[in-house]
Symmetry: D2
Subunit: 351 residues, 4 copies
């Protein structure tokens, strides 16, 4: 049994069924097929506007492409010190936009703040070529510490970014979980709040390789299409990528799956707290729970074969462990997490 | 009805069934799962030796990664003027190994020759930094004109390449079709003949996104692993990539599928020739047929809704059309192509 | 004694004198000094319009920066098969604009032709992402075979390039020699004929490291400034770069130096022809002479310690040697070449 | 009068004289000349061992090439948060080694510490591809806050770096100032202490464009030669670059120039402190002085036309200003700074 990651889950039943359906007959390659058309239409409905969509194979690909689209000579990407793109993508975003500087900043609860961003932007006086210049501000929503940005948070950051001719990028690897938590419409926490480009990840929420760059500034569509191909991300049999999106967007299915995962995470949090052997790092806002766990409890989880990953953050805002020796662990719920599994967790913690 | 490309076909039944099977339960992410282990084991059996395998999403990704692995400062990649990597990947291989020079050479039937390669290598005298230096020789098998290299062809090119400290790369987007045509064992036309790294593509032969870099020089395994991740090609739910390979390698299923496609292409070729309205560019050695087609026949195919793609080559070895106005067209058979479809082609050609 | 290359000559006396003058006192770094202002003003006068100027250290740097400025995702640079940037820069231009494809084409006398370019551009149908798309057309003037483009030649190529949203770049490593040969004004064979960006090289004509990117489309000035710095080409003590340009542009001094070199090359050509032991590859239009030389004459030159470089071209338009065993050699005159040296050449050839 | 930067000074007299000398006659291009041989020999004597030397045009070029030489797929470069390569090179080092991650760490007095480095390296567990892996540790000596590393400091960092298969790079833009301050031999604070590659900058100490990559691991010589050319850094008339080194290394002339600059900086520091209107940030160890200056004193300096640059650091170790409104300013002395200038500074401060 594993709370290791939401990508340990397979694909949702609806996804598997739709893939089988999409396999019927011949279809034009490289995205010129009906399933891709359908997925793009559903995304346009979801976002309540025209969007350009590029299906890709991984979240790293989505982030890398999105940032490259807004890269500039000497350009810097600003993001949180614990951002996935800064810490867990082996420099991928720097390969797809060579010469790009990553400039990380800290902020409580995994969020960059307007104060922090404003001060950082000021370190790039216009026209001073030596430092380079800001190009993109990137935020993750749900972020790496499991917390959400509100539409208001985003709008403030967008205003700052746009004021310096920077794009605002959102890494939405758990975008549906953010929707489920905040109750916001997809448009509300993206383009209406000033997001220019979104890495939309449905893999963790029921797809098997369901990632896309959603580009709100459709003027960049042509450039993006060439980048997408050149970045080795244009699937030949693209209908299999887009069918996953169709399955997950029909009747907003993905929201239900994300909501279930969030609810299960809330139960994990309650269970951990109730055990007395764990201390939450912060309130749960998604399908991820970060907690300090006592060494005894870690041993009991190991003995019960329950997987939860040791975790490290760079942010100075992460609190100290409540007691020496308590370990920071991540527990992730998925669309497949069951009440029974959480009961088993409770039992294991109880020893 | 389409002979447009083998990637217009969906996935083989066995692939869909295995994907459904692989979806069961949780599994470690990023390739640490049992399906990935199984696929790698099957590939080791297939190639009769240890190999390092990196699953990727597209053929462009496989080629780009493979070349990048053997890139050098100032390095040049030599390939045929019509090579897919030179003509149809929007510069992808040059993005993943920045600074790499592509140095194309011509050769009859889409093959580079030992004479041609030898002369070209001589244009890079050792130590003359101005020209750069050879780094990789890349061949495609089945090549872009539908022709195969024999093990002997390959061994000669490998000797030349290795003599100048170059790797030999094979783009095997239709590798199974080459096996089916030549009857060679996978090892015979790869590492035993001197191939260092293979782009192994099963997408066109029954997968949906079944591409891998197969690295025979396992000393590069660690470097390759970091490149693979950085190149945004490490699937989180990798079991879905590897399960396709399991389905296609079990009982050498892929060879049967490729053999069927080749046989159907042979029938297409016969049908075209018999029609009097088409003239083959060269004898059929795979699942692709290139033919000059009379304008009247093109019109009849269009009227019948039969898709075949207009095609252009850069090679000086492509013959002139037998008559003015005849168009070069590509007809591709897949594992799904049926006798009925070829009967329909014959009928349409007959008018 | 050497006709090896015009970069075997040192710097012109005026350049050395001006460098000494420029060394006086303190001056702001990074191009904010008076000498740089003066050089830019002189260039504006020379080109009869506003230009943006970026001083760089090498011709490769100028070409790389110029191309990078106009690079696009999936973009291809079209140039002659013997272009310096394709053959003698170790892939530099591909490093500064990662992912750029070089697409070489042949043409008589080292020139690309409107027919050739037009046909090549047609191989990139708009919207077909697989091939990428044209981004830059680059020509060299004086070209690699020592021949010049006329203003009319350039205007025709520019029209084709601009028609496909491509920039026209000129590699002017021997720009002053082209001016001296054609009698054209600098503006006539650059922006007035449609050139967007020029690599202006004065190193071969009397500087010691006098290279610059001259950008006619000044809207790209800001992007170029960041690229220039990022490309490691912004000299801290830039006055020493710009002072060379001041020395060479004052009273059009560079034209005199180039004219001398051209005249000396004409004498070399006459001398070679008169010897009966050499056969010119084409009429002399600059300070470079390419000739097939008999093995006996080569031996006599070697014995006399006269250096001339063996040369190889890829162009199919280079004629066959008049007799077996005659070698293609390059003889280059510089601003320092003297009549006495050519007398010595004549004597050595006579044996 | 300016204490703005040591690159506001011109070139030393010996440099100008040697350049004039080097201008005599023809010489092979691209470093195959006698002056380059002489410079390399002098560097070998200076470093008391074989070294490979690559002359470049800027410090950014030296740093970028040096780091690229030791880059790896997924590789990270660790350096101080205020390192020139992280803050003042517009991402140059990331362009020359695409995909490289910069991972900055703080440390008192501009130095990275063994504790800090050790902790940071531990964040890259071997084999975890997601984070990438350490590739290079880079230190600046004299560092960006004007402080020196001792041989012992360096040896400790080198041991840590090498323990993780990382190279140790030294940015020696003011290397001679470090020698003059510490009294160490060049070998002592480089290869004997474990430095693998040095950016050796003599521009600030009397050259005009006198920068070189000094490679102690000569096994990388061939790779470096191709990178150097490809990076657009191989001067055609290289004798003019190497002659500067000859001038500065003959009789250790550069050490005298650096010693003078250091001594002048010491007088600046004393003068600032004595004025009561300024407070030193830290003790002076080179030719740079950082001080908080009162607003009144700033006004007096401005009125007197004395230039000193406002400065900002990111390090948390920079102290707070002694009083509100005092500004952090940098004063730099050069080989040309005179006692008279410092007298004028004292006078201006006194008001």
């Amino acid at each position: 049994m594993s709370f290791g990651s939401d990508n340990w889950a397979g694909a949702a039943d609806a996804v598997m069924a739709t893939l089988a359906e999409a396999n019927d007959g011949q279809a034009p390659a490289y995205g010129d097929d009906a399933w891709t058309g359908r997925a793009c239409d559903l995304l346009r409905q979801w976002f309540e506007r025209d969007v350009s969509v590029f299906f890709v194979s991984t979240g790293t690909a989505a982030n890398s492409l999105a940032l490259a689209l807004y890269s500039k000579p000497g350009g810097a990407v600003m993001c949180h010190v614990d951002a996935h793109l800064a810490r867990d993508e082996a420099g991928g975003p720097l390969l797809f936009a060579p010469g790009t500087q990553l400039d990380v900043l800290d902020g409580a609860a995994g969020r960059i703040t307007t104060e922090g961003l404003s001060a950082r932007l000021a370190q790039y006086p216009p026209g001073v070529v030596h430092h380079g210049r800001p190009a993109v501000v990137s935020i993750t929503n749900v972020n790496e510490i499991g917390q959400c940005y509100t539409a208001a948070d985003i709008a403030e950051l967008a205003a700052l970014a746009h004021g310096r001719d920077c794009a605002l990028h959102m890494d939405g690897a758990r975008f549906a979980n953010a929707l489920a938590h905040t109750g916001a419409a997809p448009a509300d926490i993206t383009w209406r709040a000033g997001v220019d480009v979104l890495s939309l990840g449905f893999t963790k929420t029921g797809g098997w390789a369901a990632e896309a760059v959603v580009l709100f500034d459709t003027a960049l569509r042509e450039d993006a299409a060439y980048r997408h191909k050149q970045a080795a991300q244009l699937f030949s049999k693209n209908r299999f990528a887009s069918a996953q999106f169709v399955a997950l967007l029909r009747d907003n299915h993905v929201l239900g799956l994300a909501g279930h995962a969030n609810a299960m995470a809330a139960r994990i949090a309650t269970t951990l707290e109730a055990s007395g052997a764990a201390s939450l790092v912060m309130p749960t806002q998604s399908n991820e729970v970060f907690a300090f766990v006592s060494p005894e409890a870690v041993a009991r989880l190991n003995a019960a074969g329950i997987v939860c990953a040791p975790y490290g953050f760079r942010s100075a805002f992460i609190p100290e462990p409540p007691q020496d020796g308590w370990e920071l662990r991540r527990f992730v719920a998925s669309f497949r997490t069951s009440d029974g599994e959480i009961d088993a967790l409770a039992k294991a913690l109880a020893g």
